[in-house]
Subunit: 119 residues, 2 copies
């Protein structure tokens, strides 16, 4: 991943709504979610959602797929992975302490587990 691409991806990620989108779509895997359903889930107005979705897509972090009259968005795991890889390898030069700190997770189970699909 080249520099400008990584920069675009980071700029796209540096926004609360977009982090919400990534967080929502990641567990959905390849299937993704329809734009309308995303808007309803996150409580976002349609034009605003569309704006952020295309920003993420242009940055290579999301992919879209049209099915009937719906458009399903799913995360581009390669894109996100490459961005993180850029930070680790290119930007931080594989610094051992950064690598160590990045692979350390401070809250492993993070409740929310027991299928308690928050109403």
């Amino acid at each position: 991943m080249d520099r400008s691409k990584a920069l675009a991806a980071l700029s796209a990620l540096a926004h609360e709504t977009r982090l919400d989108l990534i967080r929502l779509l990641t567990p959905q895997g390849e299937a993704g979610m329809a734009a309308g359903q995303i808007a309803e889930t996150l409580g976002i107005a349609a034009p605003r959602l569309s704006f952020h979705l295309s920003a993420l897509e242009q940055a290579g972090l999301l992919r879209s797929r049209k099915v009937a009259r719906n458009v399903f968005y799913s995360v581009d795991t390669q894109g996100i992975g490459s961005t993180i890889s850029f930070l680790l390898n290119d930007c931080c030069r594989d610094h051992p302490e950064v690598l160590a700190a990045s692979s350390h997770r401070d809250a492993p189970p993070q409740g929310e587990v027991a299928g308690t699909a928050n109403t």
Copy 2:
């Protein structure tokens, strides 16, 4: 690392000059570099540099240390590592494909060596 802190760190990183700063300072380790030397190395005006340095410091990505009349800046490896960890763990829910893509480095030596600047 909580959400707002990660968001601040990502916003701080989403800027070319600041990526340059991280990339320059990471190999310097704890010692860091003096502001003036950084400005000279990157060719940045002093006020502009100071602005970006304090932005990174406030985001928890840099640390500063005053020595005589110089201020040495060094990367906060914990801060950067935690930010990356946030992306992997919290935002992407430890998605296996993202983890795989992030630990994969596609261009290890990154030639630039033999000055083969293909026109």
